[in-house]
Chain length 205, copies 2
Amino acid sequence: MNADKIPDIIIGRLPIYLRALQRLADQGIHNTSSQELGEMIGISAAQIRKDISQFGEFGKQGTGYSIPFLIERLQGILKVNRVWDVIVVGAGDIGHALARYNGFVNRGFQVAMVFDSDPNKVGQKVNDLEILGMDTMVEKVKQNKIKIAMLTVPASAAQTVAEQLVKAGVKAILNYAPIHLNVPKDVKVQHIDPATHLQRMTYYL
Amino acid sequence: MNADKIPDIIIGRLPIYLRALQRLADQGIHNTSSQELGEMIGISAAQIRKDISQFGEFGKQGTGYSIPFLIERLQGILKVNRVWDVIVVGAGDIGHALARYNGFVNRGFQVAMVFDSDPNKVGQKVNDLEILGMDTMVEKVKQNKIKIAMLTVPASAAQTVAEQLVKAGVKAILNYAPIHLNVPKDVKVQHIDPATHLQRMTYYL
């Protein structure tokens, strides 16, 4: 296994496999096959076998995959066999939704802090978290060695805030602002923009 | 131009180009180049030129692209030179955030209806929209010829609701439930799942 050489497109499918396997495990199922998994997620069995085999031998011909074992290995590969502290920057509607979302913790994440620049929001609570002033963000991120941020500020502020996050040591940004972020190569960005996703589908209507 | 033959990966980049061009237009800029656009969005100038040339001749060697013209053409290609009615199914935190989001209308979409199955939510308002009962969804979607839905119900309900949407004539689903949807091939699905996006980045940490 040479992790550096695994194409990003394969890495992108692993969380999908993991999610489906966790769903099966929640139903009390212990074994699955690439066929069954493929039908669940709309990816061919051959593709799944090929992707997973990049990381070693996981299944046996004929008996399929042990779900607990494959979950453990995928969690290890994706480094979510631990819980990462994540910050939410921007306490608007989406920021609140993310801070209150209960689907993170069993997938390796917890919202540790929420920041906003609006003095009227600072000090208010989202769940058990007090909204913190943006002026304290760099210091708090550094202190707590936070590596992951979800960015839900307006597009006009996003690039500036992203640069502050990078300066503070953040290496992964989930960007909800409808703008591309320019960050150094060692910082990963994933974009969530519903209008972009919708436009990708209207082409086919 | 043979639209049916354009690879989906190219279609996926067009909304990114359109978003960047609209941003330049908002700043009062009338012309751009593939170099400038590429720097804005982190895609090579050559890739942008190649993608755009799939749809005809848009720019002139040396003078670049006319922004209003390219916006108009991309909006036409993506069929967002109109405003599509979209429904939100599930009036939780994310459903509320989507219904209240003001970034849709200048990108071709407006939230026309919001549905929920909870009798305590039905009749309440999100912005100017009254939350409607899920039992009226199929009928209302058919009546209003809605083609696009944003699905924010729990994972356990998502497949059933998706099947109702398909039955009602929906052809594009933006799925916020953390589960793969099985739908007919002529129905497009895009997935937004923050934990999946985060896991794709932790691999590199």
